[in-house]
């Protein structure tokens, strides 16, 4: 018996069809012997037939429609470049780097770099972003939820549980292993290699290079001669340090080099931050020398134990780090971007929840997983269309039929109202960019809270006024401090429960729907958006600084200052009064305090018992 509603099932099967017909059905590509691509900055990228069979796959061509910087183009209008352009750039750069050091590598015993190796590195480079979802990194935030669904659907140990930082890599590895078109193309390519590498081993090699898992050896390594096994492991590790920079090891990171210069080029960051012009020009010159192969001294080859590690010189690395910080500050971060990503997080989180429940009662787990992957693989515009359609249908029907619990249903339906915000995003973003937040003193808590006042948008023909209250890291740290200091908590409490947990599940961790329900008592619509990126930044900073005391751990959060952790949107038909905004802010602060207290008390309770 089908559902009495049908439309959600239609979308579900459309997504399945989209994946199967475009990306999964066997395909025979007969490319020309050679194609010259042209990309900004690097110019010509020559690609020959074996690799073309991978590049021309619809799965990879999909990256043409994935914008590298998601919605940044709304205010940096040039930032419309694609992950496809970036992937070709990384491939060209990786290949040039290997050529640049190949002469020196010849002197290393047991490491004979040959044409096969160049091809393998190029495949890994061009596939490194294969699993990237639309909307930039906004969907990184749903990794915890996505992997939970995979686990619930498949059960057992059927797939790798990755660190939550790696959504795109988890999907890339899933595709390398399970996608029929890609598997077929890689298997055919394995046949063309001069040295025999069994197809399953080749897929594993590519996966390990992309995932930058340093200490892992392919489980199929026994398929090749024992004498070649050590050499293969050395090569995999060397390639990891060319394409990326494994944690604790470091490396050149061709991926980062490419996005640095490419994003800077398309956003024209040097025009509004002139002080980086010199460093940027210097980096471009360095890349030019790498591409022309004219200066071998740019790359250092280090031997460590049995491993060969490729790195750039200290001087270049310092410049890269400085440029990276500037790009983060000027392009990737900021209030508009945080708001946009938080909105997209909530919309996709709810849509994925609907899809999962529809699939659970409609198809088997393997198909369900393909549908979820298909949703995430949709190009930017399609992802928007699917998300909005799923939520629109979900708004109008009872969802308990799908086994969705009451609270979840409420969350999904309220999230569907946020579609109107996506439709008004230009106005909201530009207001956030041009307005300095006002400050509201909450005497009750002895706190000052920022808010953006009276953004006017149109929702289904009606004018609405919205205020956006910003609960930032400064406030978060203050609330944690008030509770934690006198209770002698361990820094691990702060890290695991108040940084890592929201990073793993930003929406679930703050029980969004409960707070919204409470706030509705004031008679107006209030929506809560959690900023995943703030927790990611806290986590990264924590890993860098490794604080030794709880006080230092809290300071680290406080130092992130105005980075919002939660946006509270307060919507009404008339201009909201300051008094009303204040009442809502006070309620939210009280709620957040209680959430922090409950989370930490839970541990103390267990600890005492």
């Amino acid at each position: 018996m089908g559902s009495p509603f049908g439309s959600l099932e239609t979308i579900y099967y459309e997504l399945l069809h989209s994946y199967e017909s475009q990306y999964n059905r066997p395909l025979s590509i007969l490319p020309p012997d050679k194609v010259d691509f042209f990309i900004p900055i690097f110019g010509k990228v020559e690609v020959e037939s074996p690799l073309l069979k991978i590049i021309l796959l619809p799965l990879l061509q999909r990256l043409i429609e994935i914008k590298q910087l998601a919605h940044t183009y709304l205010y940096l209008a040039g930032a419309t470049h694609s992950r496809y352009e970036h992937s070709l750039g990384v491939m060209k750069l990786s290949s040039a780097l290997l050529k640049l050091i190949s002469e020196r590598l010849k002197g290393i015993k047991g490491l004979n770099i040959n044409e096969d190796d160049e091809l393998i590195l190029s495949i890994a480079a061009v596939l490194h972003d294969l699993g990237h979802s639309g909307w930039g990194h906004a969907l990184d935030s749903i990794m915890g939820k996505f992997l939970s669904y995979c686990q619930e659907a498949l059960g057992g140990r059927q797939f790798y549980l990755f660190d939550i930082r790696k959504l795109d890599i988890a999907i890339t590895l899933y595709l390398i292993e399970k996608n029929e078109q890609l598997k077929q193309a890689l298997d055919a390519l394995a046949e063309t290699l001069k040295r025999r590498i069994p197809p399953a081993l080749l897929r594993e090699i590519i996966s390990i290079i992309i995932a930058e898992e340093w200490d892992v050896t392919p489980s199929n390594i026994g398929e090749i001669e024992k004498t070649e096994q050590d050499q293969l492991i050395k090569k995999i590790r060397l390639f990891q340090t060319i394409l990326g920079a494994p944690k604790g090891i470091g490396g050149i990171n061709a991926d980062r080099l490419d996005w640095l210069v490419r994003d800077a080029h398309h956003t024209q960051v040097e025009v509004y931050v002139p002080r980086i012009k010199k460093d940027l020009e210097s980096l471009r010159e360095t890349l030019d020398k790498i591409l022309k192969g004219t200066d071998q001294s740019l790359v250092e080859i280090q031997k460590e134990n049995k491993n060969i590690i490729a790195k750039l010189s200290e001087e270049i690395t310092t410049k890269i780090n400085s440029l990276r910080r500037t790009l983060y500050r000027e392009v990737y971060e900021g209030l508009p971007r945080a708001f946009m990503d938080s909105l997209l997080t909530r919309l996709s989180y709810a849509a994925l929840e609907v899809l999962y429940h529809v699939g659970k009662i409609s198809t088997g787990p393997e198909v369900l997983l393909r549908v979820l992957v298909s949703y995430l693989l949709q190009p930017d515009a399609k992802l928007r269309e699917y998300t909005l359609n799923i939520l629109r249908y979900a708004r109008d029907i009872g969802l308990s039929w799908y086994g969705i619990e009451e609270l979840e249903e409420k969350f999904i339906k309220r999230t569907s109202n946020l579609i109107d915000y996506l439709n008004n995003i230009h106005i909201i973003i530009h207001r956030l960019r041009t307005t300095k937040p006002m400050q509201l003193l909450l005497e009750l808590f002895n706190l000052t809270i920022p808010y953006v006042d009276d953004i006017i948008i149109t929702i289904r023909g009606t004018t609405k006024h919205i205020n956006i209250i910003l609960i930032d890291c400064n406030i978060y740290a203050e609330l944690i401090k008030r509770y934690a200091t006198e209770r002698h908590l361990h820094p691990a409490h702060i890290y695991h429960e108040l940084i890592w947990r929201p990073r793993m599940d930003p929406i679930g961790s703050f029980k969004t729907i409960q707070l919204e329900t409470q706030l509705r008592q004031y008679g107006e619509d209030v929506y809560l958006l959690t900023n995943y990126y703030a927790f990611r930044k806290m986590d990264d900073t924590y890993q860098e600084q490794k604080p030794k005391t709880t006080k230092d751990a809290i300071k680290l959060i406080k130092d992130l200052k105005q980075e919002p952790i939660i946006f509270i949107i307060h919507e009404s038909e008339i201009k909201p009064t300051t008094k009303r905004t204040k009442t809502i802010a006070e309620h939210a602060i009280r709620y957040l305090s209680t959430t922090i207290k409950d989370t930490l008390t839970r541990h103390l309770r267990h600890h005492l018992t």
Binding site: R157, F162, K247, G248
Partner: protein, 117 residues
């Protein structure tokens, strides 16, 4: 993930019945057993893992001389934070992380006898 490393170390020491664990035993468990057999990827490299051990040492939870890790009672506090996290009720994924680690320890670790392969 340093809190998971603390949890693993604590559980390993309990299963072994010894508060001393050699670093190669730990890397064997993380990369050969957990990664390959239990499909759970928590660390990218043994160097990264070693940095986490150094941090646990700074927190007073272990002693580490570059080869042997001595587990101290304080490590149990961190292990308990991981074990009792609110995420257990919140995400299937979290329960699965802990489940696979526990299962690997129960199945693979015999008292005082884990040997790197």
């Amino acid at each position: 993930m340093w809190t998971f490393t603390a949890y693993i170390l604590w559980k390993l020491s309990k299963a072994k019945g010894s508060n001393r664990i050699e670093f190669p035993e730990l890397t064997h468990f993380i990369f050969d057993i957990l990664w390959k057999e239990y499909k759970i990827v928590l660390n990218d490299s043994s160097k990264e893992l070693e940095r986490e051990i150094e941090y646990l040492k700074e927190l007073g939870a272990v002693n580490y001389d570059g080869y042997e890790i001595e587990v101290k009672e304080k490590l149990g506090e961190i292990a308990q934070i991981v074990e009792q996290s609110s995420l257990k009720d919140q995400l299937t994924l979290y329960r699965e992380y802990l489940g696979r680690i526990n299962q690997a320890i129960d199945t693979k670790i015999k008292p005082k006898s884990i040997t790197p392969s």
